[in-house]
Amino acid sequence: MSTIVSLPDQSTAKLPSKSYLNQEYGLKSWLLTGDHKRIAMLYLFSITFFFIIGGVLAGLIRLELLTPPADLMATDTYNKVFSMHGIIMVFLFLVPSVPATIGNFLIPLMVGARDLAFPKINLLSWYLYWIGGIFILSAMVLGGVDTGWTFTTPLSTHYVNTHVVTAAMGIFMAGFSSIFTGLNFIVTIHRMRCPGMTWFRLPLFVWGHYATSIIMILGTPVLAITLVLVALERIFNIGVFDPTKGGDPLLFQHLFWFYSHPAVYIMILPGMAVISEVISTFSRKRVFGYTAVAFSSVAIAVFGFLVWEHHMFIMGVSQYSALVFSLMTMLVAVPSAIKIFNWSMTLYKGSITFETPMLYAFGFIGLFTIGGLTGIFLATLGMDIHLTETYFVVAHFHFVMVGGMLMAYMAGIHFWWPKMTGRMYPEAMSKTAAVITFIGFIVTFFPQFILGYLGMPRRYAAYPADFQVLNVFSTAGASILGIGYLLPLLYLPWSLIYGQIAGNNPWQATGLEWQIQSPPLTENFTEIPIMDHEAYDYEWLANKTHHEVQTVG
């Protein structure tokens, strides 16, 4: 059972005369579209916008931390900056990053449907996203929020007088946007699969998004109601979360983390979904242990609901319940390990090429392994006492979120860029960017582990001079990282016009989405396909050359 798949010659490729991009013209045709591909592009544009804002805020954080005293900005300003950085990056960038862009674009293509089940709701969710974004931006412009992205009560309810309610409502809206995305995905995956597309023929990308959607629809509403309670408590001066009025601040923590822990899996599962596709394509092999990888996604989603208290270990929760949650956290880490090992094994006896997405995927595997294993440090009760609320935690979550998800997102964007736009990105440039990002990342965030063990607390505008050297490293790294992200921001738009024409299946991948023209037609398939092979059937692909798909026109 061996297969040779070679990349097609792109010099003859032509852009199709008709595609979702040129079906209709004008702003209105975009803003009122029901086409999942166009909505994906709208999202792509929007989250990039917010990523730049969040990134500039990150730059400000790092600049401030270059020197020990709070000299670049006042402590209050610094607090607002990192709060906004966290809020924007989490709710307006990372949560929708892969699902709302790549997922939105691909899920119907991958299950063989013409669109998501509810196109109008899909559009609605984009508008909700923007309403949320505008709320959050106005909170920022009107004077900021300084509660951190975690809105710890009673600080957020009774002790600050910044725009907490505005920001909370923004997150509420963004939350509903993500609920609707998840709803659409679940229904589409259950109900819209083309004939022959059984569950175990689905690409792992779809499994990953299915698991993500479960968390989105079951977790997000709890965050929504919690934020409503915070807002009410502020407005009416009540005390469900305030001990002096009889409430319990830990109740807020419970409700908040009931969402926000599973939410970190919203922020990684779609990334893992991307990695499965990329690794398999560039080693020309089916994913090793398909079922294990598929079920581990669902396991992460389900177990992810059982571990939230690990964010509260030292906050005075019951020690016995801390035991339970620490144990559960150890369990939830196992499916991630399963995935990592399966991807590594996928390379075994493959025929590997090192395209840009693959480089990002390697970055993902390495960095996520570090990030994930440092999560185990934090899940270990006695260790968490020392590490919690220090830069170790900051390093942990940037490793999983930036080193993991953001790398995966970049991998995905590069991987499907030809499908989305019909054009290739510049190869050498993008490889350089991938390497710069990787180096920048390590220099930025690795020192933070050491800082954390030294005890440097997070959310500090000013810090003792002992910590400066490592902070300088970190800031220097962030500058490199900034360049790494700036490059794609420049060459991807450039490639829209000057990029090489990609052809239908530039990677010779097996996915259904690669068998149609790039960019696809508005209705995706002229005829609903019938699936007769598994997701990663390279033999089928190798024998299929005589059916090479033609583009329109």
């Binding site: 259950h190 109900r191 699969r193 004939p195 022959g196 597309m197 059984t198 079951l218 709890v222 830990l250 109740l251 419970h254 009931f258 609901f305 059982l306 939230w308 208290e309 929760v317 019951s318 020690q319 016995y320 319940s321 339970v324 949650f325």
Partner: protein, 107 residues
């Protein structure tokens, strides 16, 4: 799965529930409402709460099963309802592990 029944939407036949069923459920719900109010006037200790919640669950199941047609629906929808209840129970019960055992071990 064979090629024939691969399509996931073969079971689209709609079961039309007849008015007598609705009437019966409506009546049962009214009776249960009266019952639960009535019982709340009798002092049963902890059982007041237990019975009130049990009746509420019964009423809710009647509504879900018949008014909302889950009784006649596909396994998928039944599972969906179960998933919702399950997650809700997780929220309650795991939060409770903290609240119940906070005072433990203070000996």
């Amino acid at each position: 799965m064979t090629e024939k029944n691969i399509s996931t939407h073969q079971d689209a036949e709609v079961h039309v529930v007849k008015p007598p069923v609705y009437f019966a459920i409506f009546f049962a719900l009214l009776v249960l409402t009266a019952l639960t109010t009535g019982i709340s006037f009798i002092d049963l200790g902890v059982f007041n709460a237990v019975i009130a919640l049990a009746i509420a669950c019964l009423k809710a199941s009647l509504v879900v099963l018949f008014f909302m047609h889950i009784h006649y629906s596909s396994r998928l929808l039944k599972l969906t309802v179960a998933a919702g209840l399950f997650t809700f129970m997780l929220l309650i019960s795991l939060t409770m592990t903290d609240y119940i055992s906070r005072a433990w071990g203070m000996f």
